[in-house]
Amino acid sequence: MALTSPVDARTGTVSSGGATTPGGIGRFIGYRLVSGLGTLVFVLLFNFFLFRLLPGDPAARYRAVKNIGAADLARIRAELDAPVLTQFWAYLRDPLALNGISAWKGQPVWDLVGGRAWPTVVLLGSSTLISVLIGVRVGIRAGWKRGGRFDKASTAVTLLFYATPEFWLGLMLILLLSSGVGPFPALFPSGGVIDSGIDPLSIDGAVSVAEHTVLPATALAAVYIAEYSLIMRASIIDEQSQDYLTTARAKGLMDHVVRRRHAVPNASLPTITLIFLNIGFIIGGAITVETVFSYPGLGLLTFEAVSEQDFVLMQALFLVFTLSVIVFNIIADVVIALLDPRIRG
């Protein structure tokens, strides 16, 4: 037997790489954090100039706000009057705009952002959950029996969803299920996230939030269900021609075991990346849906900040959005590295 061959000498050296070391994944995360930080620094610098290029008169905006103190007003005016480089220096000392005051509401911007963050998290969480649960399953089933009846039907429907503009779908949902047209009763409220005067942490509050979130979450989920199922379907079809699935079948595994244990884990890698990247984007990207439904989240706040030319608020929101994209990018990379040993190296 060939046990004393040069190859065996080689196996000895290669085998040291056997199991993945925890240091490997740790170093990977560290590297991603550092590069994410670099992106953040760039974004912060960019953020200063971007909003100073906007047209309009912020001083006039501040004057129009009633509840702003005389001292604050004087300070803001002095800041706005200073040369750009002085303003930039002031910005560098407070890049997160921790002391920023909204030109629209006269409140500290982070209070405004904080109050609007949880509805977006609720909306985002529920729509992501719906779209992942439905989209991924539909995609797997369609791709596994490519060209079958389920595949044909689901692909037709998902393509339709994918092509539907969110705002139009939102308007239709309001028309049919919220306003009550013809035979349709008004099932769900529209506008707001909770009925006024209810504690969102009580049971009644949770029910009210759920009622208000159903329609916007559906509108938002529709396009993502379509996206996830189309991507998942394509990945499953790609995987099906892979030799290791023939191996799995030859082992005598049942078809659904081959699918669940071998095909799906490999095929889901691109979709998982996409899901996390989308979460990062949706935090800022729910603008249309939130606006159509008057859903008081960060998307609607962005719309309002732009309409009111409130550049300090815009600056804070942009920071939140870029940060969420950066953070979920890192999470996506780390999750993929945990699932795919080839990435960990």
Partner: protein, 323 residues
């Protein structure tokens, strides 16, 4: 006793352009402990034939004839029985070991899987022990059970595939081009390993290769396929050195003989290309490329005839009784 027997096996692919016959009536049998080589150019139907043994042919393929593993017809048995025969009775060392392992599962888990599936008495512990033993038998350290496929070299992966094929102690082992992706040094070792283990366990082995010289040194008998049929079958060394079929002679000449410098510089090629299975020439499918073709060859579809002790060949020049 024959552990694998093919009786008049045909395999036809349905395509948009019409039926494509990839295998056109193959009879072969392999005894326990025997190593049979199966050679032929790409497209001659070797891999289609392998697929039919575990009923792994694509849905677009129709198989007729009998594929008997341990006397049972694989093509007509129930799915339930088929799942037990797959890997339990017949296992395959697949072509292209580089992609035949799941890239995101540890080697150990992939090796344990069929043991737990087929051996109801196995526990994760006993299965892991068995895997460690198998890895050692194919010359890999036990620690490789914790490795992922991409951490192994091509030769190591091929050894893992051999270990995988042995996990359920099958009666039949089919190795589809087990050495094609490997360098020459490793090729010899892998084949030696495969044949050694099979002989020791009394399995029937089929080694598929396009390299006749490799088969001649490792197999008891060799069958050569052309255009979906076996055109010559006989004891390995004899067939390699004194082929009766002109195609087999050409194939044997196509590999330079080691130590003979002249043959390296003048490897004898074969003019033309193998025919497309859907557009076979009339008569003997080899006659357009054959140097010895006579008029008769374009009209007579010659079948296998006796060509000496233990030998058959499909050529008009091989007369019955001619040794």
């Amino acid at each position: 006793m024959a552990v694998l027997e093919l009786r008049d096996v045909h395999l036809t692919y349905r395509t948009a352009q019409g039926p494509v016959p990839a295998v056109r009536g193959v009879d072969l049998s392999v005894d326990g402990g025997e190593v049979l080589g199966l050679a032929g150019e790409s497209g001659c139907g070797k891999s289609s034939l392998v697929a039919s043994v575990l009923r792994l042919q694509p849905r677009s393929a129709t198989v007729t004839g009998q594929v008997l593993v341990g006397g049972e017809n694989v093509q007509t048995m129930s799915w339930r029985r088929l799942r037990a025969v797959r890997w339990g009775e017949a296992a395959v060392v697949f072509q292209g070991a580089l992609h035949s392992l799941n890239p995101i599962q540890r080697i150990g888990r992939q090796l344990v899987e069929p043991i737990l599936l087929h051996d109801s008495a196995a526990t994760p512990r006993t299965a892991a022990d068995k895997v460690a033993g198998l890895l050692a038998q194919v010359g890999l350290p036990e620690t490789h059970a914790d490795s992922y496929p991409h951490q192994l070299s091509g030769g190591q992966k091929q050894r893992v595939m051999i270990a995988l094929a042995l996990t359920c102690d099958p009666q039949v082992l089919i190795a589809d081009e087990p050495t094609t992706a490997l360098d020459v040094m490793v090729q010899a070792q892998v084949l030696e390993l495969l044949v050694g283990i099979a002989r020791q366990r009394g399995m029937g082995v089929v080694i598929i290769s396009h390299d006749l010289s490799v088969l001649a040194t490792t197999c008891h008998r060799v069958a050569v396929m052309y255009a979906g049929r076996v055109v010559e079958l006989g004891p390995a060394q004899e067939l390699f050195e004194h082929a009766r079929h002109p195609y087999v002679r050409a194939l044997a000449r196509a590999f330079p003989t080691i130590g003979e410098a002249r043959s390296r510089y003048a490897p004898a090629g074969l003019p033309g290309d193998p025919p497309f299975p859907d557009r076979l020439p009339s008569g003997c499918p080899f006659h357009p490329r054959c140097a010895d073709a006579v008029d008769e060859c374009s009209s007579v579809d010659v079948r296998l005839r006796p060509a000496g002790p233990g030998r058959v060949a499909a050529c008009v020049h091989v007369g019955a009784g001619v040794g």
